[in-house]
Amino acid sequence: MNATVEQAARVASLAGKIVLVTGATSTFGIGRVSALAMAMAGAYVYVTGRKSDSGAETVAEIEAAGGKASFLKLDVTLESDWIEAMAAVREQSGRLDILVNNAGNAFYVPIEEMPLESVWYLAHLNIEGAFLGHTYAWPLMKDPGAVVVDINSVAGQRGSVGGTSYRSSKGGLLGLSRAAAIDGRRQGIRVVSVHPGGTWTPGMERVRGREAYEQGVRNTPLGRGAESADIAAAVVYLASDAAQHVNGIEYNIDGGESAR
C-alpha cells in the first residue's frame, strides 16, 4: 500500500507556484517524483541536478503528464551553480515560492575505517548544499507563500552503527532547518524538515540494497516501506498554502519508526 503520484498531486493545489527541486533527476527518486507531483498540482517546476540527460527526461515526463517544467544544471555543492541557477529563475519567473532541498547522499562505514574526505564529502553535499540553497533562494522569496522544504531522513534524528558521517550530516541539516525556520521570520519564509524512513529509491538501492531495506522496514510498526510518492504527498501539502502555519517542524513519514 503506497500513495500514487496522482494521489500526491491531489493533496493540495500549487497553482501558480514557482518551485525549484534539487537532485530531481533520479528515476523514482524522492526529488523527481516530488517534482512531478508538484507540477501535476499546478506548479511551474525547475527540475535541477547534475545530469542534463536525465534532467531532460524528467521534464519530458512532467510535460507528458500535462505539467510545466524546465531543467537547470545545478550541483548543490557549487556556489557558482546556485548563483547561475537563481539568476535564471529571476530572469524567467521573477521570483521563487518553493525550494525543495532534496539532493543528498549516504553511506555507512565504521568510524575507524572512514576517511576524513568522505566526512567532508557528506558535509559539503548534505549540509552545505542545503545551506547554499537557503542562502541563494531567500532573496527571490517573499511572504506570503514562501517555503523551503528540506528533505532530511530519520537518519537525522537517530544514530546507527556506521553513521558518524552520514547521520551526523543529516543531523547538521536538521539544525540548519531549525535555525532557518527562526531566521526566516523577517521575510515570512517557512522552513520544514521532512524525515522519510525506509523508502524504496535509487539511493536506497545503492546504499542498502533490497534485502537490507526489506528487513529494515519489516521492523517498523507498519511493517512496510514507503515509496517516493508517499514522500511527495507530504511535500505537496507542506509546500502548499494549506500548511501556511506549519513551520520549523520535523515531519516524519516513516511507518511509525520514530514512535519506538
Binding site: 576524513l116 547554499l132 537517530r158 544514530g159 547538521g172
Partner: protein
C-alpha cells in the same frame, strides 16, 4: 563531587574558562589530567598527536572534547567560508576527536568519551546558522559513535553535554539558559566516573532549563 582516583583524563581543547574549569574539577576529583589542543583538522595531525603519540600516557580512561561552535550569524547573512569554517573547527574537529579518541580508549581497554558542545544542538536559535548545524551534527555523531562502540563491546562510552551560555558566577534558576563553567565541569566529571558506567549515547543538556520549557 565524583571520585576519579586513579583515572587518567585527557581534555581536547585550547585553554578557555570552560576547559580550565573541567581540568580543575577532574583534578580535584582525584584524576591525573592532561590538556591537549590539536588545531589542525587533518588525520595525520590527530593520529600523531593522539592515537600514536609517544608523549601521551599509555593508559587513558577518559577524553573530554570541548567543541562549542561559533554562531556563524543568521541564515541568509552568513557566507559560505564562515559557515564552513565553523563546520570545520567544531563538527569536523569533533569527528576527528571521536575517530582517534575512541581508538585511543580502546587501546586502554575502554573508557569514557565526552563532547561538550552547544545547546543549539537540541533546538534552533536565531542568528546561529552554523552553530545549530554543527552542534546538531555533533549530537548525531555522538549517538552513532556510542552505538558503534556498544556494538563492538569495547567498553567505550560516548556521550555529549549540550551547554547553554557559559557565564562565570552564580545564576538564578531557572530557564535563563545561563550556566557557570563549574556546572558543566561537574556534569562532565560525572560522565567520566564509574557511577555513569551504564550511560552511553546520552545527549544531556546542561543549560539551566533552556530546552526544558
Amino acid at each position: 563531587m565524583a571520585d576519579l582516583t586513579g583515572k587518567t583524563c585527557l581534555i581536547l581543547s585550547a585553554e578557555t574558562i570552560l576547559s580550565r574549569s573541567v581540568h580543575d574539577n577532574l583534578v580535584a576529583s582525584g584524576a591525573n589530567v592532561y590538556m591537549l589542543d590539536i588545531p589542525e583538522a587533518t588525520e595525520p595531525a590527530w593520529d600523531s598527536a593522539l592515537l600514536n603519540s609517544q608523549q601521551r600516557p599509555a593508559k587513558i580512561d577518559a577524553i573530554v572534547n570541548v567543541s562549542i561552535p561559533d554562531s556563524g550569524g543568521a541564515v541568509g547573512d552568513v557566507a559560505l567560508p564562515e559557515f564552513r569554517r565553523v563546520i570545520e573547527t567544531s563538527y569536523i574537529r569533533t569527528w576527528l576527536a571521536l575517530k582517534y579518541g575512541i581508538q585511543t580508549l580502546r587501546s586502554s581497554g575502554g573508557g569514557s568519551f565526552i563532547t561538550i558542545t552547544s545547546v543549539d544542538g537540541a533546538t534552533g536559535a536565531p542568528a546561529a546558522a552554523a552553530r545549530c548545524a554543527a552542534s546538531h551534527g555533533i549530537t548525531l555523531m555522538t549517538k552513532s559513535a556510542a552505538l558503534e562502540c556498544a556494538d563492538k563491546k569495547d567498553n567505550v562510552r560516548v556521550n555529549a553535554l549540550l551547554v547553554g551560555d557559559i557565564i562565570p558566577g552564580e545564576h538564578e534558576a531557572y530557564a535563563s539558559g545561563h550556566v557557570s563553567p563549574e556546572d558543566v565541569a561537574e556534569a562532565a566529571a560525572h560522565l567520566v566516573s564509574d557511577a555513569a558506567v551504564y550511560i552511553t549515547g546520552l545527549i544531556m543538556p546542561v543549560d539551566n532549563g533552556r530546552v526544558g520549557y
